[in-house]
């Protein structure tokens, strides 16, 4: 009897214990990344994730003159198989968005000062000149691609689940216990607590592009970092942010940039074509629009008709 009781007590104690995750915060790709991993091989997986992310950062850095990307842009290096596949994927997404996401705007971003933080208003001539150059810059794609690559690393490492916050991009991996959804907030462009909550399941990427993420102001006017490849100026399509929910991180990242550039109407048209992702548009006037499959709660919004 006594033995049985102690056994029962131990079992009850164990039932109250949830396995603790391992987590790490790193600075990578000019942003902060929070990695949280659950499961037996969590620590091993974390070090592999850091390796993968840092190696991507080194290869595709626009600020490091010795990175592969810088040498490639100068015509001094040829891509290997993996690098060629990544460039091809970026081009494919650019074509899908009709060029609204463009991975070749390095000269343009540089003349606005978005790389070194020395922001300035370039002249029209500078902008026109920069638009004719075709140097690669994978911002608006690389973090999303990194999220997808990380899910491969996690699956090889054999962990249960993980939550990767790659500088505002969220990548989930695996199921939460009991099939509970992951609860992902949408950043309020005006600051403060999140606007609403998105429920996502399994391995999913949630990526937001917004005019509040990196910007500067001149005479009360805001100039943000999402440049419209058609004009060379910050996109002004009446949106504050766009969040894309998609199983593929690279697509989510490129599409959120493209939808932000295109605006609500044209962006909706792009979504209607294939409907293989979900999106939440936050307009400058504060109104929210969401595609029917987006499980959004905690805020008022209008559903976009298919």
């Amino acid at each position: 009897m006594k033995r049985l009781l102690s056994l029962l007590f131990i079992l009850l104690l164990l039932a109250g214990c949830a396995p603790k995750p391992s987590s790490q915060t790193i600075f990578c790709m000019d942003t902060v990344m929070g990695l949280t991993v659950w499961g037996r091989n969590a620590d091993d997986a974390l070090s592999r994730l850091c390796g993968t992310l840092n190696s991507l950062d080194r290869t595709w850095s626009v600020t490091d003159e010795d990175s592969f990307l810088s040498r490639f842009n100068r015509g001094q290096a040829q891509p290997d198989e993996q690098q060629a596949a990544l460039l091809a994927r970026a081009m494919e997404l650019s074509e899908r968005t009709g060029g609204a996401f463009c991975p070749r705007l390095q000269a343009l971003s540089r003349c606005w000062g978005f790389y070194n933080g020395e922001y300035r208003l370039p002249s029209q001539e500078e902008i026109t000149q920069a638009l004719t150059q075709e140097q690669w810059d994978l911002g608006g794609f690389l973090k999303g691609y990194a999220g997808s690559l990380c899910t491969q690393v996690l699956s090889e490492a054999g962990v249960d689940r993980a939550l990767l916050e790659l500088g505002g991009n969220v990548q989930t991996y695996g199921e939460k216990p009991g099939g509970e959804p992951w609860r992902i907030g949408i950043q309020n462009p005006a600051g403060g607590d999140p606007l609403g909550i998105l429920l996502v399941y399994g391995s999913t990427a949630v990526v937001t592009s917004g005019d509040y993420q990196r910007y500067f102001e001149v005479e009360g006017r805001r100039y943000h970092h999402i440049l419209d490849p058609r004009t060379g100026y910050p996109a002004s399509s009446g949106l504050s942010s766009v969040t894309v929910i998609c199983s593929d991180g690279a697509a989510a990242d490129a599409l959120s940039t493209a939808l932000f550039v295109l605006g609500l109407e044209e962006g909706t048209r792009l979504w209607r074509k294939e409907q293989d992702f979900e999106a939440v548009f936050v307009c400058s006037d504060g109104k929210l629009y969401a595609t029917p499959g987006a499980e959004l709660s905690g805020c008022a919004f209008e559903v976009i008709s298919p």
Binding site: K2, A15, G16, D193, V206, T243
Partner: protein, 118 residues
């Protein structure tokens, strides 16, 4: 000892076990804490139920003044060039980031969210 004494003793122990287990399993209101990370290292953990202000000096010399107010935390002053950390306002979930000063404020408990996209 008599069988009766055993029964009393064991049932007492049993009840104690149940009570202890219930106390362990019972969901309690999660206290909210925020972790302040500077230059990649955890500097301190703040209890968000206690209002206060503190200034964090980054390894590079930059300064951010944090304020805890009514269960929320925000950056009220910073010498970084863009001031984007202040623009993020007072939050109780997600993350507040000052990239130039390598400061991250992360919420530990009490947040109903797993993460924030944006």
């Amino acid at each position: 000892m008599k069988t009766k004494t055993w029964i009393v003793l064991l049932s007492g122990l049993f009840l104690l076990c149940i009570a202890l287990s219930l106390w362990l399993i019972w969901p309690r209101p999660a206290a909210a804490f925020a972790e302040v990370i500077s230059g990649g290292k955890v500097l301190c953990v703040l209890d968000l139920s206690l209002d206060r202000e503190l200034t964090v000096t980054a390894p590079g010399g930059g300064e951010n003044t944090l304020s805890v107010r009514q269960g929320k935390i925000g950056v009220i002053h910073a010498d970084c060039p863009d001031g984007l950390c202040i623009a993020q306002g007072f939050c109780s979930g997600g993350r507040i980031i000052c990239l130039p000063n390598r400061l991250v404020i992360r919420f530990l408990q009490g947040s109903p969210l797993d993460a924030v996209a944006g």
